[in-house]
């Protein structure tokens, strides 16, 4: 597959780079250069914004940073043009990474806020460039900078540079999409918190994607500076760049590496056709109208819809995979004595503003047991799961898991130590197929499997949970019962040592609960250690070896399920004090 694609890229590269040697009018070469230019900008934008869903309106800033780097180095420092391009990439990438290092730490800065922030950064950068000696107002002329003789003519030099960069960018975007990195970015797009808990290093991935995206835009800026040979702040940092780039990607389809290229070529050609026919204004209106129609009726973009239609035609046949060869989810590590607790929490506290959700919880989970975590609503059960899985950091206390303290670890590192969890309200990745949903933890969990292995693993767990027939569906097509089981399959696919189940039974019918109980028994029979939060007391009594009762963030009882449920403190916590 990859060899074929590489051959395709090479053929396209060789074929297209032969064009200037047939001596076409310079005008065609310039037009095609512009197409390549917009392909680079749109595809590079898509690496962060399309894949991970962080819509940036600041692509113009990084493009501009590259433009001014080349312009400054070439005119003021006398650096040869080609040597300024790596510098342009570096400046833009460092700028992007520095911005990302601050912004990506703030979990609420997503969606529109991220878009606005990046737009504001563009204007700030523009103001600084305009008022400092970098530009100072009049703009920079590059007409005296010598252009290396790459092609037969100056216009073919730009054509070849643009072509090389466009192919590089497309190849980068393609490789990312098919790699672990890309899968992580798509998971971030759908639900960043869940991705992190399943083991995706979200912060690092976003930063890397941003850096790459900015660096490529920087090179495009460097070449463009030379192409237009007169760089001004007004033109460089105008809102046209981010708007066009967003428009092209959305138009082509932002969930596929090739989508933005289709959009870029379409929009560039369309605008050119209208301009050439003296209808430039109508062209812009047409682009606006097309954007609206595409968003409303082709939400996946032109290319995305096309790919989707092709995929639907090729209905994949699910290979029959039995559950016989299932690996133990928790293959216990040798060398640890059985009596030792697997997980030990000491003095765990967590407060949300005034609410003390956990007030010094001490508890231990023994190897191989099923521990029930019960307590009235608001007693801190879910918070405990969220703290152990790393979604929240505890205010104080320690969580020892196989000897290492989890309290200071990031959620994705906790996932890699072998802890998996489910969510009470299922949180599948909405745009990934059921199979891909389950493959994500296999790729990012303890074993960090390659994609093909991860998918094989995922199919096994789908068979185990009875979802094999739904492997190619989107999670939206599943009912609640199936979505709950998807959560379970996703947690199991990372082969955890410890499985945290948050109310798997809530909302299920009696028959479905029986199903689920059978499944959990089977998971346990393979030797898993399970902690589960539950309100369905029947399931608690049937399944657990021990229970721990929480009330107001404290452990008020622990021990044999039936005995504990009869303790007066527990009865009081659930039903209140009898009036005597």
């Amino acid at each position: 597959m990859r060899a074929r694609a590489l051959a395709g890229f090479a053929a396209a590269g060789i074929g297209l780079s032969a064009v200037p040697f047939f001596g076409p009018p310079a005008f065609y070469e310039s037009f095609l250069y512009l197409v390549f230019h917009w392909i680079v900008l749109a595809v590079s934008w898509n690496i962060l914004s399309g894949y991970s869903g962080y819509f940036s309106f600041g692509h113009g800033a990084f493009f501009g940073a590259g433009m001014y780097t080349t312009a400054t180095l070439a005119t003021k420092a006398g650096v040869p043009f080609l040597w300024t391009l790596p510098a342009a990439a570096l400046v833009a990438a460092v700028f992007g990474i520095a911005l990302g290092a601050v912004v990506f730490r703030l979990p609420r800065l997503r969606g529109e806020l991220f878009a606005l922030l990046t737009l504001a950064v563009t204007f700030v950068l523009a103001t600084i460039v305009l008022n400092t000696p970098i530009d100072g107002g009049p703009g920079l002329y590059l007409s005296a900078v010598p252009l290396p003789a790459i092609g037969p003519s100056p216009s073919s030099a730009f054509y070849l540079l643009g072509l090389a960069l466009a192919l590089t960018t497309l190849w980068t975007a393609r490789e990312i999409q098919r790699s672990r990195f890309g899968t992580g970015l798509f998971a971030i797009h759908d639900d960043e918190d869940v991705a992190e808990v399943l083991g995706v290093p979200t912060y690092r991935y976003k930063l890397a994607a941003f850096g790459l995206s900015c660096g490529l835009a920087g090179i495009a800026g460097g070449i463009q500076a030379m192409f237009i040979s007169y760089v001004t702040v007004g033109e460089t940092f105008s809102i046209a760049v981010p708007l066009n780039v967003v428009l092209m990607s959305v138009l082509g389809g932002s969930r596929h590496w090739f989508g933005p290229a289709v959009g870029a070529a379409t929009v560039t050609a369309l605008l050119y056709a209208f301009t050439a026919g003296d209808y430039a204004v109508a062209g812009r209106a047409a682009v606006g109208l097309i954007l609206i129609l595409v968003i409303l009726f082709l939400p996946e973009g032109i290319f995305g819809e096309l790919i989707g239609a092709l995929k639907r035609r090729r209905v994949s046949v699910t290979p029959a995979i039995g559950t016989a060869d299932l690996p133990a989810p928790n293959a216990a590590r040798p060398g640890k004595s059985e009596g030792q607790p697997l997980l030990e929490a000491r003095g765990l506290s967590k407060a949300f503003r005034g609410v003390q959700a956990l007030a010094g919880v001490d508890l231990e989970v023994r190897r191989g047991e099923i521990l029930g975590l019960v307590g009235p609503n608001g007693s801190g059960k879910s918070t405990l799961i969220n703290v152990v899985s790393g979604h929240f950091r505890p205010d104080s206390g320690r969580i020892l898991f196989e000897g290492c303290d989890l309290a200071a670890l990031e959620a994705h590192r906790i996932a890699r130590t072998g802890i998996a969890r489910t969510y009470q309200i299922p949180r599948p990745f909405a745009h990934l197929s059921v199979l891909e949903n389950v493959a994500v933890p296999a790729m990012f969990g303890r074993d960090a499997q390659a994609r093909a292995d991860a998918e094989r693993e995922a199919r096994r767990w789908l068979a185990f949970t009875g979802l094999a027939a739904k492997a190619m569906s989107l999670p939206g097509e599943l009912n609640l019962h199936q979505r709950k089981f998807l959560e379970l399959a996703r947690a199991l696919a990372s082969r955890p040592n410890l499985l945290l189940l948050d109310e798997v039974f809530s909302g299920l019918t009696h028959a479905e609960i029986d199903d689920a109980i059978r499944l959990i028994r089977e998971i346990r029979a393979r030797g898993a250690t399970i902690v589960f939060v539950e309100h369905v007391i029947r399931a608690v009594l049937e399944l657990t070896d021990r229970i721990v009762v929480l009330s107001y963030g404290r452990v008020i009882a622990a021990g044999d399920p039936r005995a504990v449920m009869r303790e007066p403190d527990v009865v009081t916590a659930y039903l209140g004090k009898p009036r005597v």
Binding site: L119, F123, G137, R284, L291
Partner: protein, 280 residues
């Protein structure tokens, strides 16, 4: 760095106040539709410019600019409601409203060309002298309209039943609907109002500024900064924040070069986003 004279300082404070009022007027509709209907309407700016050009056209026909409001406000109200009615069928992203912006911009350029247009009216040259300072009538009108509209919306949301229902929709539309609030009708009403406010802001633009279609985007950043600083959906927020931004810009211009002014608003916006993203 030479310190500016007191008169210059006073004059720049005053101009900051007035331009801030325009930021507030432009931001009012944006903030309400964002805060209450969760719709980021980029087309708001294009509508304001459409209003400005219509005012220019009608004033050219000899109509008093203020009287044009009698035509523009109801038309824009209907236009805003219609747009909402059409788009409410889809879950509309800000990108759709960007598409609308591009269409309206092209429409403006097609009718009035890309040339600069300046409205001639009896108001533009009227100035009052207060001590050593000058106050231009169009700017005073802008401040008065911004104050009046912001206060009226504030009172409406606070003291009437429809206003309270509107706030309930902003909190949680499905729950409001469950308690008998006509979510669809009120959303139409609010969208209409927001568009009408864009029309009023257009009058202000036409009174004080030279118009060109490309200028639509020039206001985007500053007004967004005012809206977000002021708190989404808060009817007094854009005006107060707009004046804060306008005055700080004016001071920046007085003490340094005018070209540094954008730094103030966008840095403020960035600081707000970084420091208090939860508020938005």
């Amino acid at each position: 760095m030479a310190l500016p004279s007191l008169t210059l300082l006073g004059q720049s404070l005053l101009s900051g106040l007035f331009i801030g009022a325009l930021y507030g007027l432009l931001g009012l509709g944006l903030s309400l539709s964002w805060g209450m209907l969760r719709q980021i309407n980029l087309a708001h700016f294009a509508l304001a410019f459409l209003g400005a050009y219509l005012t220019y056209q009608l004033a050219g026909a000899g109509i008093n600019p203020l009287a044009t409001l009698a035509v523009i406000v109801p038309c824009f109200f209907a236009l805003g409601a219609l747009m909402h009615w059409l788009l409410a069928r889809f879950s509309v992203s800000a990108l759709v409203t960007f598409g609308l912006t591009a269409i309206i911009e092209a429409l403006i350029q097609w009718i009035w060309t890309a040339d600069f247009r300046r409205m001639e009216s009896g108001y533009s040259d009227v100035k009052f002298r207060v001590g050593a300072l000058y106050v231009a009538l169009p700017e005073l009108l802008t401040l008065a309209m911004a104050l009046a509209l912001s206060l009226a919306v504030w009172a409406w949301l606070r003291h009437t039943y429809t206003g309270k229902a509107m706030r309930a929709i902003a909190e949680d539309a499905p729950i409001a609907a469950a308690f008998g609030v006509d979510v669809h009708g009120l959303s139409l009403l609010l969208s209409g109002l927001c568009a009408a406010f864009a029309g009023v802001a257009g009058l202000s633009l036409a009174l004080s500024y030279t118009l060109a279609p490309g200028q639509i985007y020039a206001w985007l950043g500053v007004v967004f900064a005012a809206v977000m600083l002021g708190g989404l959906g808060n009817p007094l927020g854009p005006l107060v924040a707009g004046i804060v931004i306008g005055v700080s810009e004016a001071l920046t211009m007085a003490f340094t070069a005018p070209a540094w002014a954008p730094l103030v608003s966008f840095s403020l916006l960035i600081v707000v986003l970084l420091a208090r993203p939860g508020r938005i």
